[in-house]
Amino acid sequence: MLNWIRQHGFWTLISVIGFLVMIILVLYPLFNIVIQSFIGIETEKVGIGNYITFFKNPYYLKTLLNSLVVSIGGTLGAIILGVPLAFFTTRYKIFGTPVLSSLATLALLTPPFLGAYAWIVMLGRNGFLRAGLSAIGINLPSVYGAFGIILVYSLQYYPFVFLLTVNGLQTIDRSLEEAAANIGTTPFRRFYKITIPLVTPSITSGALLAFMLSLANFGTPQIIGGRFRVLPTMAYNMYTSEIADRPAMASTISLILVFVASIAIFIQKYAAKRRKYTSNLLYKSAVVKLEGVKNFFAHFVSYLIVFLSTLPMAVVVVFAFKNTNGPVFAQGFGLDSFRQVSREVPLAIANSFWFSIVAVILIVILGTLFGFIITRRQNAMNRILDTLLMTPYIIPGTVMGIGLIVAFNKPPIILYGTWAIIIIAYFIRRLPYSVRSAASILQQIDPDLEDAAISLGAPPARAFRKIAIPLMMPGIISGAVMSWITSINELSASILLYVGNTVTMPIRIYAWILGGYFGPAAALATILLLATGLALLMMNIFGKGKVDIL
């Protein structure tokens, strides 16, 4: 028995570490939020008073409704943009499809609040597009509020729907459509009776991702929302407000947010279970070359969608090079804004890089090990760990931030105000993605390979190092790059956790935008975009060349 423990010791240790990490960094903060949410605002009595207040008071209910409206609106927008683009680029010959696909991915990976900012620059009160259009008599609706938020979410998250639908369409066996044609089904009927139902699971999983991220997003509504409140911004504002009783209500709102996210996942899981198709993929559908008007239309729509989602990035870069005069843009181009950035915020840049790099090292090491045990060492304990590891996925950044503060600004562990708490926030928020990506690549690796190595005399740790790791490497690299990109762009948790000397680039950009300093904000954002782009390029060279965002 002792020998058995020695033999399995290493992986059991990893399971224990997994539990400790999840308990200390997720369950304990969440538990603190739960406790706080039950403490009455004025009475300090323990009870469900805060929840009753939330559901009785139109002020809170309106916010919940707002959140649902913009999340559902953003999701529908993402479907409307993503599905046609997926169909056009997989079924018809669209010139430059790989470029369109890369641009869409890049758009997905930029922080959404940059999109919000760019649309303000274009369509805000003094927006150059608004000015230009109103000069020729077109008056656009205000971009502030629900319209702007939905616009940004749609353009930000449609690539999820697009990439997943492409994947779904590519795994539909062509013979299914041919069989339908063969028994006399018209093309239109074929499309909505065969193709659409088969690709629906892919569309809904993309839509779920869009919904979850829209629901959790903090930066966009804060910047472009104006007086339009959503749950994350309300939780943030209440938590940071000076009024002492508000943090309790922020906790209540946080839990309601987590609850809505859980329901969304539950609905999607249920829908996906009811229709799940496997295909043994004999041959892919043909790519048809369209003619004339149809061809023009398909190209126009595809390019327009990608153009609109790339436009904010272009605007940010262009405005970074505009000369400024204080907060106002001046005539001509130059490096004023970059000079200001290098003068004022070298700390934010350095912090961003080193926080995210430390976080990624932790994410990659632990994510790979956890991904390994949940796929290769399935037992009751690791199945529970698997579920636990997915919990950060449904916890919006704002909620995670509040949880970490509540948990770690008091004994036994005091971390608030340190750089460690920001790294922890990055780490715990992105860990599930790394675990998933390690697990999914392991599922494609024959477990017999590791057994073969062990039977040839390699101890388990050596078999893992010599066999599993090298084979997982492409997945590990792309997982690392994705974690790094999303960490260095993180705003919603770190904005709650930072203090003066732990400021990061996204926090600085956000603060500048709120303060009206668009020039330096654009310059710093350009640096962030450049880092993101370079990381993606590196992944294409060293990774498996495929983006694993899902």
Binding site: D446, A452, S455, A458, P459, P460
Partner: protein, 363 residues
Amino acid sequence: MYVQIDNLSKNFPGVKALQNVNITINEGEFFTLLGPSGCGKTTLLRIIAGFYQQDTGHIKIAGDLIDTVPPHRRDIGMVFQNYAVFPHMSVEQNVAFGLENRKVPKEEISTRVSEVLEMVQMNGYEKRTPEKLSGGQQQRVGLARALVIAPRLLLLDEPLSNLDAKLRLNMREEILDIQRRLGTTAVYVTHDQEEALVISDRIAVMNLGVVQQVGTPWEIYRDPINEFVSSFVGSMNKLLGDAALIASKSPKELSSTFPPGTKAESCKICFRPTDAKIMSGKAETHPEAVHFIGKVKKALFIGSGVIYRILVGEGHILTVHSEISEHNDILDEHEPIEFYVEKEKLLFFNKETGERIRSTKGE
């Protein structure tokens, strides 16, 4: 007794994978675990390798109890069904892997690797990567990799089942030749009864986690212990006792062959299609045989002979495998047909339990 498996049991949730398995294997023996999928043969192999832990029971190799020895210290070579050749290593690196684990000096590694590659006829492929090899070549690498460590025991888990039919036949003889040359004790898992008969010194037939019978290929084929073994290894005609009496030419002649105390309604009578002989002349009878009559339902020409499906008695179909030399010898559909089976080739089984009913004399 080189390998000794005592009272081994293993349960998976809801499944009794192995129940009280007792097997002994001699040194240098080629031993096969044969059975349908889910019979526990692979589970047993993986317990021997150390990838699963038994619930109860013990395994000894060369007198050493290995129950608690972790798999990487068991010194057992294993060949996998899907080759499990490391895709990121060359042929050479694959084969050298086990020796590197054992900290064998570099020069010795390279001699031993080239020796073993020559043995499996893969010399010249040292630098190739697995993706450039065919399935058969990959399995040769898998075999070389397991053999190069000079294991105490070689385990082969359906190593040929992913290969095409013709290659399978060549490879099984090669594996046997190499095993004979090295004298390595081998445990081979397969669901292919013909493969098991060809390659094994002894076979353990397994079903539902229980070892049904252990014996030489001849014993397994000719003297099966129960109905399962008889029909899993080779094909078998089966008739309930009553139906057999109706199908026979002379019920009296047939009932005289029944083991003492056996009643027609409680037994099954079985014989192999190759043990039935078609009567050519009408007049002849065979004193030590039982005769059956029926009608040809189908005659399937398979080159070396004819397989007849014969309708006997009240609608039962029997199969007779007949060699022929002349085209005219093939009987047409609906023609009456008569055949006989030597009495000693008839097997009797208990209808309910499937246990063999032996005649008193001999055995």
